[in-house]
Each structure stands twice: as structure tokens, then as C-alpha cells.
Subunit: 434 residues, 2 copies
């Protein structure tokens, strides 16, 4: 059974790649491809923005003219790993129209143009693969596509941003300040060039936007989802978490409710030790999927960095050899699910002044603590009060989800009744006394 | 973007299935398929052994005649989930020759006939998919096929047998006796009908045999691998583990050594709290993969049970719609790696009588403890001493790997030197004094 007489069984396309971007990921990909001749994929040309920079590759490989790649009939795959989502979308659009498959790592571009990108794939029939754009080395998109299309996906919870997870881990474990932890993340090369994108949750919610499509067939816009980042998480919150044996993580989550609709959010959350996500430290990412048949599954791997990202790009390139495309089965072959904003969240809120907190918006308050430096409460609130106001992100207020935070309307009544029976629980009409 | 005008883009085969076996997995599959009409796969006929048993499906679905399925030209997929590996192999062979794709869950059959099955796939060009046969709900084969073909796979460590893992968990956490834990596992339906297959490691080593093919291109025979099960793990071992903050798991592992060859074994191992595998409890399975580009990845999910297995079978069926086959890239497109038996293991050994232990076989002994009821030692030994003798499985002797057990020849010299410098370490020539 030698390699000679068997490889003939597999007639793969030869892939000629036009690469946009030669930053950490682009250069990583170039190195990785050079180490894997078996793939029979070659980079014919690399389009860069700044011709002057010294690069560790032959000069004749580079050009600053997009069309050299996009109009080259020999190039059949465009790989796009640039930082500019506007330019990226133009490149992808043209590539599709010129009959080229596209591999992309631009989560922002994909999230913002999801509907158009779906349309373009339909019209042109080209493959558009972007495994590297969410959770880098974890094959989350492919697994959602291939393994849950026939299964009842109860919920999916994930840490999708390596940079914020690194910062939170360092704040908790090494007691680093937020600023020092951020600088470390940037030096290690897994923070976005604009830290706001990571820290304020934009990167995570971008990824969540299209993961919701693969998980549930939902098409939405990142700004329509309830989200924030870790910008308000502080040492006081970390101390409270520690006292309860918990850590804080930025968690993207979605849950199918009893009414068939999906509740989704990207928010910091307290994580108990028995939660799989407590396992996810530093720049790693993790995905917990609960489904009807497969039950609970957990995927864990590096979510950021040059090689993990390049290796995911490479897997997409590899899949193009047998004309793989995402089928978006939940969107096209099933009845796509709808998002809902009609559910409740159990939240922790820390703040300096009670006067800043609209306590009347809470269904009830379960805990109430005042310390010298800062105060906090734990209560149940309808999401509309978070979606219509900014009060929970302002005035040094920090909102963190409790474990098992999502409460359905149906559950609320029972919980309320139970809560009333418990001593020491303060409903909002009794809250004025404090 | 309605379902009507888009699904036309995907011309999938319609799948007509002939199913062999209607036990927990077969019946699970039947139920799951009935709940997923979108798959457009139908079970035309089910072949069973015992016609008399009452079954929750229409009587006309069943037959006891193999050829009714195998010779039906309309049936294009044979799904085989029977317990008899001899019959299974006959069925698969005939199915291939009759131009049918095959989905199988028979790990024993696959492990024992690996080479012939590879040959048959080559000759007939039919797909042969068996994701459910290893780790049930974890897509480990597909991920090894798709995600590490271009990456340097340093090591893979896995818990692949849900039944033994359940027993070990119950022994540790609920202090159940081995016997009671086994009965529970059987009652819950995730133990093999012959418990010896699980408990003595046969099931795990069977799975490991073909996972080594997908991971490293290795073709071997289960009985050539160094393995045992959990039959000798006892309460004393559990107590020692507990004192050191460790648990015991049956771990299948393989590691690429410095000389380019692969060390592999399936043995019980002490697992520290920071090891991903410590996370894997009850009937769950877990796989930790370390690679050059993606770094460390961890996959976790239910490794046994009717629905997790049926859901993996279903994923294979689903993949057949676009003519997916395993490419065995490491075997055919790369230079396959070789197994080696030239390495050392750091082991814990507990026993009743020192006289039974060939202490001269150890390179050195690092720890030595005698208690009233039982004794144990920790030492470094060459694998040939385990492969050529049965002493470590007999006379109530229990062998458990230490964490990071595999030691390469190159490392040994340095370790020896270091060990000599440490007080209290007993080399075998000093050991006679005890």
C-alpha cells in the first residue's frame, strides 16, 4: 500500500493562492505552507499595504495592487487576513465575482456583512470559509455545521476572545493590574491593534453574530445583541468572585428557550469551578455545547496567536481541495430560529453609589452588600432594561452575570414564589428601606 | 433568501439505508432519524439476529436475512452497529463489493481488520466512516483527519472508554466497590455486553489502534500495543492517588519522540488536577492533542450511550451525502510514522509481596513505601520489561503510570544523573537492602 498507487485515488484541485495581508497571521500562514508541501497549495502573490516594510520572504512575491491578485485567472483562492474590514469586504466581493473561493479571518467584516456575504455565496456558488475567524484553533464552525445539524442544540456557551481572557486570567491569578495585563497581551501578539475591539466586547460579539448563524440559523447584527466587554470589571469584583470560589470570564452564550426562541448575550459572567469554562485560562478559548443527542460537549484550544490562526486558515484551504462549503443547514434546510429579547437575567452589579442604580427596574434583589469601598447587589432583571439603557455600563458600574443567568418567563413566576418564601430576600418594593 | 431557492444549490444524494443491528445504538439511530426528516435518509430494512424479540418499530422493517439488505440495489448505505465482529466484517466486505458505502460502530472489527479494510476501501472506492466507534459524540476521527494533517502532532492522550471511566469515577467519588460500579455502568447501558472488553482494556486498545492510523499513519494490531485495563486498580491505589491530589484514569496515549518514532500505550495513569483529563468524569471521554501550530487542544463529550453513539453515526450518514471519505492523509500523503518499543516509563507499582516484583528490571526506584496492608514503589523501567512479561498484571500487582510517564532514551541519562544527586533515591543495586 505505497503512497504512489494510492494517492491517485484522490484527485484534488491544485490551489493557487492570492494572499491579502502579511501581518502575524499572513506571515504565519506563509511559514506553515512552506512546511507542508503535501498540501500542494502555493501562494502566488501577496498583496500588502506598505511596500516599504522589510519582510522575510522574496520581494517578487509582494505587490500593493489588489487587482494583480483578483484578476489573475490562475489564482483560484483568495486568502484574506487583513485588519481593515472595509477593504476586506471589497476584496471578498470582487473575488467572488471573479470566480474565486475565499478564506477569511476577518470576523468584523463577516459579522457586519453577514447577510450580503450569504447572498454572494448563493449567487456565485463560491466557497467562503472562515474557521480561523472564531476561536482560531478550535474547529467550532465546522463542528456546528457537521455535527449539530440533526441534533437539538439546547445551548452554546463560549469564551471567544483570547485577549480579554488573558487579561482576566492575569488579573485573577497574578494580581496584575488591568493595564499591565493588557500590555502583556499586546506584546504577545494576540490583542487586536485597537484594544477597544477586544476589551469592550466588540470582537466577541462579532464572532458571536456568525456563530449564531451556524448554531441556530439566526441572522443578526452585532450591535443588536446585548453585549459588553471587561472594561468595567475591577479588583472589587475579582475579590467577590474569589470569596465565592468563582472566576470571571467574558462569556458569549445562547440558549433555546421553551418557546422555541433563542436568548443570546455576550457579557462577563461568574464561573463556578465545575463549569467547563473555568478551565479556560490565558489566551485559550473554549466552547460548551449542550444538545439533545450528543449531550454536553466541550472544545478547547488556542483562540489567538499567529500559528493557531494560521493553522485554522490552512484547514480551510485544505478543505477547498474537495470543494467543501458551509451549507448553513439551520438557515436553509431547517426553519431558522429567531432571537428574542423577552427573558430575564440574574445579574451581579457593583457600584459606588446606590443613587446611580435604577433599583426599580429589578424584579427582585436577592443579595445586597455594602462595603467600605464599594457596594454590590444580586438581582433579577428583564433584558429590555439592559438593552434600552446604558446605566449599567456607566458611572463605574460593573455588571456581571451570575452562573445560570438566563431565566425564562415561565420560570420567573415559580422563582418569585420561592424567593418570597426565603428569609432575607428583598423585593424592589421593600428595597427603599436601604 | 428562502429555503426554496437556496437548497437547490445543494444536490445531495438521497440515502437509502440498510441497518444491521437494533440494539441500543440501532434503535437510537432509528429514533433519531425519525426526528430529522431534513436529512432525507431513510432506513429501508433492518437486519436482526433474533426475530422473536418485541421491537418498537413496524414488523415489516425487519429481516433476519443479510442478503435482503446487501443485495438490494436501492440500498446505497449499510450502517452496521452489531456486536459480533466476525459477522460485522463479513457484512462490511460484502457491502463494499456490492458498491455500498458503509458506516460502522464496530471498533473491535475495525481494529482487528484495519489493513484489510484499508485495502478494500482502496479497491472499491467506497466510503467507510466510523466516527461513532471512538469517543462516540466527540468528532475525534474527523478532526484528526481534517485538522492535523498539515500540523506536527506532538502527542495525543485520551480517555476513550466511557465504561471504565465511569467505574473509576464512582470508585473515587462515591467510594463504590469496583463490582457495584460495574453493575451501575451495565445498567446504564454503556458497558460492553462482555465486561472484560471494557475492564481489561481491550475496547480502549481497539479504538487506539485505528486512532493511531488517523493521528500518525500507523498501522498496527491491538495486541501489539502495550495495554491493560483497570482490573487491578484497587482501593489502596485510590487512597495513594487521593493523598497526592490525583485521580486515576485509563489513558490511551501516543507521543512522537525525538527520533521521529511514536511511543504508544493504553494504561491506567495518575492524573494531576491541572491535566485536562482530570476533568473527564463518569461516562465522558476526552482527548488532549498537542501540536506544533494549534498548540494544545481538548475535546470532551459523551463517549458511550445510545444517543451519543447514534448521533455520531448520523453525522457519518450526513457526511455521505457529499461523498465524504477519510483520506488517511498521514498514511498515504505523508511518510507514515513508525511505532517504537524503545522508551522508558515512570511507573507506580503496588503489590502484596516484594518477592513477586523483579526489581532488577527497574533502571532506578524513586520512591518506596511499605504500609501494613500493601506496598508500593515508583520507578523507571524500559517498556520491553512490560511487553515481554506478565508479572505486572499478576499476583495482585497493580501498575499505574506516573504523570508525564514517557521518558526517551536521550532524557534518561540526564534524569539518572539528576536522580543520583537526590538524597533518598534507591537504585536497583542498592535496593537489596530493603
Amino acid at each position: 500500500m505505497s503512497a504512489e498507487n494510492t494517492s491517485a485515488n484522490y484527485h484534488h484541485k491544485s490551489l493557487v493562492i492570492g494572499l491579502f495581508g502579511f501581518g502575524v497571521v499572513g506571515e504565519g500562514l506563509y511559514k506553515v505552507l512552506n512546511q507542508t508541501p503535501s498540501l500542494k497549495a502555493t501562494i502566488k502573490k501577496v498583496c500588502i499595504k506598505n511596500a516599504g516594510k522589510p519582510r522575510q520572504a522574496p520581494a517578487e512575491l509582494f505587490t500593493t495592487a489588489r487587482d494583480v491578485l483578483l484578476n489573475d485567472p490562475e489564482i483560484n483562492v483568495i486568502v484574506e487576513v487583513i485588519d481593515d474590514s472595509v477593504a476586506a469586504f471589497e476584496i471578498v466581493k470582487t473575488a467572488f465575482k471573479n470566480g474565486k473561493h475565499v478564506v477569511s479571518a476577518s470576523k468584523k467584516m463577516i459579522a457586519e456583512h453577514l447577510e450580503e456575504l450569504l447572498q454572494l455565496q448563493q449567487e456565485t456558488g463560491q466557497s467562503f470559509l472562515y474557521e480561523s475567524s472564531a476561536c482560531a484553533s478550535i474547529p467550532v464552525i465546522r463542528n456546528l455545521e457537521e455535527y449539530y445539524d440533526n441534533d437539538l442544540l439546547h445551548s452554546i456557551r463560549a469564551i471567544v476572545n483570547g485577549s480579554t481572557n488573558y487579561i482576566l486570567t492575569k488579573m485573577f491569578e497574578d494580581k496584575l493590574s488591568y493595564r499591565d495585563a493588557l500590555i502583556q497581551a499586546q506584546q504577545l501578539g494576540f490583542a487586536e491593534s485597537n484594544p477597544k475591539l477586544d476589551v469592550e466586547g466588540y470582537d466577541a460579539v462579532n464572532k458571536w453574530t456568525f456563530l449564531l448563524t451556524h448554531a441556530y440559523g439566526i441572522i443578526t447584527n452585532p450591535l443588536e445583541l446585548l453585549f459588553t466587554g471587561i472594561q468595567n470589571v475591577n479588583a472589587f469584583d475579582a475579590q467577590v468572585a474569589g470569596e465565592k470560589g468563582r472566576v470571571i470570564r467574558l462569556v458569549a452564550q445562547a440558549k433555546k428557550l421553551g418557546n422555541g426562541k433563542v436568548a443570546a448575550a455576550v457579557l462577563p459572567q461568574f464561573i463556578t469551578q465545575d463549569d467547563h469554562l473555568s478551565f479556560v485560562r490565558n489566551e485559550y478559548n473554549g466552547v460548551v455545547i449542550e444538545s439533545g443527542f450528543a449531550d454536553k460537549q466541550f472544545f478547547y484550544g488556542k483562540g489567538a496567536g499567529s500559528f493557531p490562526t494560521a493553522s485554522a486558515v490552512l484547514s480551510d484551504i485544505s478543505a477547498l481541495r474537495y470543494d467543501y462549503k458551509y451549507e448553513y443547514k439551520k438557515l436553509y434546510h431547517h426553519t431558522p430560529l429567531e432571537l428574542t429579547n423577552d427573558f430575564y437575567l440574574r445579574v451581579y452589579l457593583s457600584f459606588d453609589e446606590l443613587a446611580e442604580i435604577p433599583k426599580e427596574k429589578f424584579e427582585w434583589i436577592e443579595e445586597w452588600h455594602a462595603r467600605e469601598d464599594r457596594k454590590y447587589l444580586v438581582g433579577v432583571i428583564h433584558v429590555r432594561h439592559l438593552q434600552t439603557g446604558n446605566w449599567w455600563r456607566e458611572n463605574n458600574t460593573s455588571l456581571i452575570l451570575q452562573p445560570d443567568a438566563i431565566i425564562e418567563n415561565l420560570e420567573l413566576h415559580n422563582l418569585k414564589k420561592k424567593s418570597l418564601q426565603l428569609a432575607g430576600i428583598q423585593f424592589h418594593h421593600q428595597f427603599g428601606g436601604y
